[in-house]
């Protein structure tokens, strides 16, 4: 599986062991091809994630144009960390690198869910379906997603959004079963956030 780098694939670089286990839930979900996602060794610190990305992965991404990366870091309640991280990404790779993570710490998220892996698995399956369904419509409208990268984008964002939206639900104590009218709005905002990463606010936080 690892041999076929000509196909779209994702490398997840986690900051610490908690984020590694969180990422396992993504890769372990049945909707994700095992061969298309690999969780790398923990970097031990968000700054180290950025160092490793710059020193190792930028060059590798240039060598492998079908590679995408997720930098999985803790924001520790500091939204400006996102801008610092994004500044390390060369302009030509911005579309292939995602800086993701919980706004606080995954340990808090686990406390409310019970398991890092379950964040990406059964406990949130219903929520993931919700995101997955709406996302497909949003993706079709997005001009940047074309051809065979569509499937990978689809899966990557599906995973990425799950963690993001779930955290929002938990942080704001919103019920998982949101009403149908707000589902598209939630997902579209989350999608927009993931692509552009300009804001941490969702409608109900305003």
């Amino acid at each position: 599986m690892s041999g076929n780098k000509s196909l779209p694939h994702v490398k997840v670089l986690p900051e610490d062991d908690a984020n590694r286990q969180l990422a396992l839930g993504f890769g372990g979900h049945t909707a994700v091809d095992t061969g298309s996602i690999q969780v790398l060794r923990v970097a031990r610190g968000w700054l180290r994630v950025l160092e490793l990305f710059e020193s190792v992965h930028v060059r590798e991404m240039d060598r492998h144009p079908r590679r995408y990366m997720v930098l999985l870091i803790d924001f520790d309640g500091q939204p400006n960390r996102l801008a610092l991280a994004r500044a390390k990404i060369p302009a030509h790779l911005l579309d292939r690198v995602f800086v993701l993570g919980v706004l606080t710490e995954p340990e808090e998220l686990r406390a409310s869910i019970g398991s890092y892996e379950k964040i990406g698995l059964a406990e949130v399956a219903q929520l993931q379906k919700l995101v997955f369904g709406v996302l497909s419509l949003v993706l079709r409208a997005h001009s940047g997603v074309q051809g065979d990268s569509h499937a990978l984008y689809y899966k990557l964002l599906y995973c990425s959004l799950s963690i993001f939206v779930i955290e929002k639900f938990h942080r704001n104590r919103l019920p998982v079963h949101v009403d149908s009218a707000s589902k598209p709005a939630i997902c579209e905002v989350a999608f927009w956030y993931t692509l552009h990463q300009h804001t941490h606010s969702l409608p109900w936080e305003a």
């Binding site: 599986m1 041999g3 590694r20 049945t30 060794r41 398991s115 890092y116």
Partner: protein
């Protein structure tokens, strides 16, 4: 198919068997589990205990062919050796237990007690040589007879139909996969078929043939998986090359041509991919199964390990249970703390203890702590 057949292993208990004393594997509720620990901590012995139960279900009933005097923990002959397994299969609970006692170092161990309980009711039980068998209709005792106490009773009891709980349990237990493949010994040749491969998987060809006979559509899944790990794979052929004799041939093809390779000439790692494909197919075709794979990362290149183990973990999410042991950092990294168990022995004179990693005080990430030797219960 497996949506309606649920397997839950509630309990695996082993006592006085090698380094396992009063040992209970906390497997309930986990679709996959990783056993880690230092050399000699007892990881493979868990597989050996499962193999004893598997052998019984596969028809080995002579006690001397199952366990020996030397298998008693510290040679403690005065304490029975006991194996118990509790599973829930298709909403029916089964509990099987068997205990052996020693009559001295020069004597074969013998059965002390044995029993199979279905939804809490005894299908049969025995003490020493005296058997009590129950009627499947009303559960009332209907037969008492004596069995040679050097023979385990489970393999010799005749089930009445394929619906008989005795048949259901025995078949499931016999089909349990306990794997420690030795690729160099796997030739891909077969004269017979089997859905019950041996621990070294030297009967790979027979297993391959049997799975496809049981579920021809399984080939599509085998092909799909193998083409992910071996992109130039074209197909696998299993032609008859003599009277009742088959030999697997693997074909590779690119735009530059094709190549046929006898199975035995594949690399050790490639043979492991083939075994993995059959494990996935078996769980799908006649599962849910319990699969214990001792160090599945053996023979694999470092970049393959993570995908390989994760593929197995995912396959068992929807049915069955997968247990792996490993010392490999890449394999360990594909499990979370909540599905990783640490086995530990203070010395060769003390028994194995088992702790979930979630209960350990691990400083930093687990792999680094293991490499430092800083993980202790």
């Amino acid at each position: 198919m497996r949506g309606i057949i649920v397997l839950v292993i509630r309990r695996l208990y082993v006592h006085n068997f090698r380094c396992l004393e009063n040992f209970e594997l906390p497997i309930a509720g986990q679709s996959s589990l990783l056993l880690i620990g230092k050399n000699g901590s007892g990881k493979s012995t868990v597989g050996a205990a499962l193999e004893v139960l598997q052998k019984i279900a596969r028809g080995v009933n002579r006690v001397g062919d199952l366990v020996r005097y030397k298998d008693l923990s510290q040679g403690r002959a005065g304490v029975p050796m006991r194996f118990e397994i509790e599973v829930e299969l298709a909403s029916v609970s089964f509990r099987y237990s068997v205990a052996f006692e020693s009559q001295g170092e020069s004597h074969e161990l013998r059965v002390l007690d044995e029993g199979l309980f279905v939804d809490g009711e005894a299908a049969y039980s025995r003490e020493d040589a005296l058997m009590h068998s129950a009627s499947p209709a009303d559960g009332r005792e209907w037969a008492k007879f004596r069995v040679d106490w050097h023979l385990v009773a489970l393999p010799i009891l005749q089930e009445r139909s394929r619906q008989d709980p005795l048949y259901v349990f025995k078949r499931w237990l016999g089909r349990m996969l306990v794997l420690r493949p030795v690729p160099g010994l796997i030739s891909g040749e077969s004269r017979e078929t089997t859905l019950e491969p041996n621990i070294q998987v030297t009967d790979f060809g027979a297993w391959f043939t049997a799975i496809l006979a049981q579920a021809p559509s399984a080939y599509a899944g085998i092909d799909r998986y193998l083409k992910q790990v071996l992109p130039d794979l074209k197909d696998i052929k299993n032609p008859v090359v003599g009277t009742d004799y088959r030999s697997l041939v693997v074909q590779f093809a690119t735009d530059r041509g094709s190549l046929s390779v006898p199975f035995e000439d594949l690399s050790d790692g490639e043979k492991c991919f083939m075994i993995c494909a059959l494990v996935l197919a078996a769980n799908d075709a006649y599962g849910p199964l319990l699969c214990f794979w001792d160090e599945p990362d053996n023979y694999l290149s470092i970049d393959e390990v993570g995908h390989f183990v994760m593929t197995l973990r995912k396959a068992f999410q929807s049915g069955g249970q997968f247990i792996a042991t490993s010392h490999n950092s890449e394999a360990i990294s594909t499990f979370s703390d909540e599905n990783t168990l640490y086995l530990y022995r203070k010395s060769h004179l003390e028994p194995t203890i088992v702790r979930p990693v979630t209960e350990l005080d691990v400083n930093g990430d687990l792999v680094s702590a293991l490499a430092r030797g800083d993980v202790e219960p």
